[in-house]
C-alpha cells in the first residue's frame, strides 16, 4: 500500500511525514516525567510512609518504633478530642464553603458591570488574597480582642460585644469569618471570569421574554457558571479542611476544643504531644475525609453542572 499522492479532484497532495509513534511517546514521557517524579517522591512516597507510621507507635525522642497494627485507629475513634475535632472541621468547612461561595458570587455579579472605578473595587476585594495569612490573622486578632475594633464599634451602638475568640459559642464562627474574607477574593475573580463568558444574547432574550433579573440569574447565569461553582466548591472545601495558621495564631485550638480542627489536632499531637504514629493516623483519616467529600462533589456534578454527563 502506498501513500495517496493526489486528491479525488486531481490536486496534488503532499504526503504527511511518516508518523513516528515511539518518538512521540518518549517525548511525551520526557515532558511529564519531572512532574510525575515530583508527585511520586514528594506526594505518594511520603503518604505511603504516613500510612506505615500510622500502624506504629513511634517515639521520636528515642527513635523507637513498634508495630501496633490498627491500634492507633481504634484509639482514635474512641478519643473524644478526635470527635470534637471532626465536628469542628466539618462545621468550619461547611461555614466557609457556603459563605465564601455566596459572597464571591454576589461580589462577582455586583462587580461584573461597566462603571467608573470598578477596577479599584475589584482590587480592594481581591487584596486580602495576596496578604500574608500571618499578617491577616494577627490583624484580625486585634479586631476580635475584647477591647478590639469590632467591640469598639459595637460599643458605639450601645452593645457589649463578647470575647470573640475566648468564647466557645463565637470562636469557631470568628475563624470562619477570618478565613472567608481572606479567600473570597480569589473565588470572586474566578466567578467574574465565568460571568464574562455567559453570552449576553441569552440574557437579553430572556429579558425580552419577560424574565425578571432574579429569574434570569437563577435560570441562566447560575447554570452557565455551574462548572466554576463546582471547581471553587472543591477547592474551597479542600482548603478549609486544611486550615491551620489562623487557628494557631488566634485560638490555639481553644476554648476547650471548639476550634481544634483536624490539621491543628494533628500538629499538636505530633509535635507537642510527640505521638507521631497517632498523628499519622489522624493524617490518614483527614485525607480520607477530604477524598470522600471531593468525590461526593465530583460525582454529584452530573445532577447540576451544565453539560456534565
Amino acid at each position: 500500500m502506498t501513500a495517496r499522492t493526489s486528491a479525488p479532484d486531481g490536486r496534488r497532495v503532499v504526503p504527511n511525514p511518516r508518523p513516528r509513534p515511539d518518538r512521540d511517546r518518549w517525548l511525551g514521557v520526557a515532558f511529564v516525567a519531572p512532574q510525575v517524579l515530583g508527585v511520586i517522591v514528594l506526594g505518594v512516597v511520603p503518604f505511603l510512609f504516613v500510612i506505615w507510621y500510622s500502624l506504629n507507635e513511634w517515639r521520636p525522642l528515642t527513635g523507637e518504633m513498634e508495630f501496633t497494627g490498627l491500634g492507633n485507629y481504634s484509639r482514635l475513634f474512641a478519643d473524644p478530642t478526635f470527635s470534637a475535632s471532626v465536628v469542628a472541621s466539618l462545621f468550619f468547612s461547611a461555614g466557609v464553603l457556603v459563605l465564601n461561595l455566596v459572597i464571591a458570587i454576589s461580589l462577582a455579579v455586583l462587580l461584573n458591570r461597566r462603571m467608573k472605578g470598578i477596577t479599584a473595587f475589584r482590587t480592594i476585594f481581591f487584596s486580602p488574597v495576596v496578604v500574608s495569612v500571618v499578617a491577616w490573622s494577627v490583624t484580625w486578632g486585634f479586631l476580635l480582642a475584647p477591647n478590639g475594633g469590632i467591640n469598639g464599634a459595637l460599643k458605639v451602638l450601645g452593645i457589649d460585644g463578647p470575647s470573640w475568640l475566648a468564647d466557645s459559642s463565637t470562636a469557631l464562627i470568628s475563624l470562619v469569618v477570618v478565613q472567608v474574607f481572606k479567600g473570597v477574593g480569589m473565588n470572586m475573580v474566578l466567578f467574574l471570569a465565568a460571568l464574562q463568558s455567559v453570552p449576553e444574547e441569552i440574557r437579553e432574550a430572556a429579558q425580552l421574554d419577560g424574565a425578571t433579573p432574579w429569574k434570569s440569574f437563577w435560570s441562566i447565569t447560575v447554570p452557565m457558571i455551574a462548572p466554576t461553582i463546582l471547581l471553587t466548591g472543591i477547592l474551597t472545601t479542600i482548603g478549609s479542611l486544611e486550615v491551620f495558621a489562623p487557628v494557631q495564631l488566634l485560638t490555639d485550638g481553644g476554648p476547650g476544643n471548639a476550634t481544634n480542627v483536624l490539621p491543628f489536632f494533628l500538629y499538636r499531637t505530633a509535635f507537642v504531644s510527640q505521638q507521631f504514629g497517632y498523628a499519622s493516623a489522624i493524617g490518614v483519616v483527614l485525607f480520607a475525609i477530604i477524598l470522600a467529600l471531593t468525590m461526593l462533589q465530583w460525582t454529584s456534578r452530573r445532577k447540576w453542572v451544565h453539560d456534565e454527563v
Binding site: T62, G63, S163, A166, Q274
Partner: protein
C-alpha cells in the same frame, strides 16, 4: 514485550525509591578524628550567641585534638521543644541542647539525655557540690545520674508599677513586704482597684495564655495545691485546694484584677507602663527604662503560706548524639566555675558560690542590690521548680482544653473533675 517493559519500569521505580530512601536515612557518617559539635539553643539573642561562641572557641583552641568546631544553632520554631523533637526525629541530632525545665523529666525518663555525672565529677576544679541541690534535683534520677547543668535558675518575682499605683491612690506595696498583709489577696485587691480607676491592666502573668496553663497553676502552691501527686501517678486538679485556688483566680478575672483571656493573644507587656503588677523573672528588667518608677519584689503569700517558684533551663548532652564523650567534656568546660560566672551575666546561676549581688547585678544592672537580695538570693535556696511530669506532653493539651472554661467563668468543679477524668489514665501509665 509488554512484560519486559513492565519489568523495566518496576526496576526503574525501585531504583528511584531506593535512592530516595537512602537519601532520607541519614545517620552516623562514621567519621573519625576531631568532632564537629553542635548545640541547639532556644535563644537567638546575639549577646548570648557571642558569649557561647567565645567559650566554644576557647575550648576548641585548648582541645583541638578532640573537637575541631562547635556550632551553636538557635532552633527558630516558636515552640522550641516541638522544633527540637522534629530535628531529633529527622535524625539531625545535636550533641548538646538547651532543655526547658518542663521537658526535663520527660527527656530524662525517655533516656534522651546522657548521664554526665562522672564527667562533671571527674573534671578538675568543677565542684559539682557547689550546685544547689534543689536546682540539680529535677535533672537527676533515682540512681543519682546527672542529666543536665541547670545554667539558668531564675525565680519568679513581682514587678510593681509604683507610678500607676500612686495615680490610682493605692498603698505602697514595697512597704507590705515582710508583713502579714503581703498576700495575693491584697495584691489582687490593689490590682482590681487600680484597674477600676485607671483602666490599666491589674495583675499580669506575662507568659500566660491558654496553652501555657502551667504559668497559672504554678501559683497554686500558695493555696497548698499541686496539679498532680508528688510521684506523678494521681491527678490532683480536683482537690479542694486546687478548686479553691482556681475559683479565686476566676473571681479575679471577673472583677478585673487579672485581665480576661483573649484567644491566643499575649497580655500587655509590663514595659508599656500600663500594667500595675507583673509576675516575671529578672531578665524582664532589661526591657524596662526610666519612663515610670517600678520595683522588683518577692512573690506574695497565699492562704497556705509563701511558695517561691523558680523557672529553669538545663544544658544537656543527647544520648543519641554521635560525640557524647566530647560533648560531655565540653559541657563540663562550659559550666565550670569560671565559665558559669560568664553565663551568669545573662542567666541566674545555680552555683552557691555565684549567688551574690555582685554577680547577679551583671545580669540585671537595673535592679537595686536590695531587690536582688530579697527577690533572688534569699529566695533561690528554698524555691521549687514549676510542676513537672515525665509524660507532660502527652496530656498537656487535655488540661489546656479543660481549663479554658475556667478562664471564661465556667463551673470550676466540673472543669477540674473533667480534667482528672481525661488525664488520669495517662498519669497512671
Amino acid at each position: 514485550m509488554r512484560a519486559t517493559r513492565s519489568r523495566r519500569a518496576a526496576i526503574a521505580l525501585t531504583g528511584v525509591l531506593a535512592l530516595f530512601l537512602s537519601a532520607c536515612s541519614g545517620g552516623d557518617t562514621g567519621e573519625s578524628g576531631p568532632a564537629d559539635l553542635k548545640m541547639a539553643l532556644w535563644s537567638s539573642n546575639k549577646d548570648h550567641l557571642a558569649l557561647l561562641k567565645k567559650v566554644g572557641d576557647a575550648y576548641v583552641a585548648e582541645h583541638g585534638d578532640t573537637v575541631k568546631s562547635i556550632t551553636f544553632e538557635p532552633v527558630t520554631n516558636p515552640d522550641y521543644i516541638a522544633g527540637l523533637t522534629t530535628q531529633i526525629a529527622g535524625g539531625d541530632i545535636p550533641d548538646l541542647a538547651w532543655i526547658p525545665e518542663a521537658s526535663g523529666p520527660e527527656f530524662v525518663d525517655a533516656g534522651v539525655l546522657h548521664d554526665v555525672r562522672d564527667t562533671l565529677k571527674g573534671t578538675d576544679g568543677y565542684k559539682l557540690d557547689d550546685i544547689l541541690p534543689a536546682a540539680l534535683a529535677p535533672w537527676q534520677d533515682d540512681k543519682g545520674g546527672v542529666y543536665a547543668y541547670p545554667f539558668s535558675n531564675s525565680p519568679f518575682a513581682l514587678y510593681v508599677n509604683e507610678d500607676l499605683l500612686k495615680t490610682a491612690g493605692q498603698p505602697d506595696v514595697a512597704a507590705l513586704v515582710g508583713t502579714p498583709d503581703y498576700t495575693w489577696q491584697k495584691i489582687s485587691d490593689i490590682a482590681a482597684a487600680t484597674h477600676g480607676k485607671t483602666k490599666a491592666v491589674g495583675l499580669n502573668i506575662p507568659t500566660f495564655n491558654p496553652t501555657n496553663w502551667s504559668a497559672v497553676t504554678m501559683l497554686a502552691g500558695g493555696w497548698g495545691a499541686t496539679p498532680w501527686s508528688e510521684d506523678g501517678s494521681t491527678c490532683e486538679f480536683a482537690s479542694p485546694e486546687m478548686t479553691e485556688y482556681l475559683t479565686w483566680y476566676q473571681k479575679q478575672i471577673s472583677r478585673g484584677a487579672i485581665p480576661a483571656v483573649s484567644g491566643n493573644a499575649e497580655p500587655a507587656a509590663f514595659a508599656s507602663g500600663d500594667v500595675a503588677f507583673s509576675i516575671a523573672q529578672l531578665s524582664q528588667s532589661g526591657s524596662l527604662d526610666d519612663s515610670f518608677k517600678w520595683s522588683f519584689l518577692p512573690l506574695p503569700a497565699g492562704p497556705k503560706g509563701y511558695h517561691p517558684i523558680v523557672g529553669q533551663a538545663g544544658v544537656s548532652v543527647l544520648e543519641r548524639g554521635t560525640h557524647k564523650e566530647q560533648a560531655a567534656d565540653f559541657l563540663a568546660y562550659l559550666t565550670n566555675p569560671t565559665n558559669a560566672e560568664l553565663l551568669a551575666q545573662f542567666f541566674p546561676p545555680p552555683r552557691k558560690s555565684l549567688l551574690n549581688v555582685e554577680t547577679l547585678a551583671k545580669a540585671a544592672p537595673k535592679l537595686s542590690p536590695e531587690a536582688i537580695q530579697s527577690a533572688i538570693i534569699d529566695v533561690v535556696p528554698e524555691a521549687k521548680v514549676k510542676s513537672q511530669h515525665r509524660v507532660l506532653s502527652q496530656f498537656s493539651d487535655k488540661v489546656r482544653a479543660g481549663l479554658d472554661s475556667v478562664w471564661s467563668g465556667g463551673d470550676v468543679k466540673a472543669a477540674v473533675t473533667g480534667i482528672c477524668e481525661q488525664i488520669s489514665p495517662t498519669l497512671k501509665g
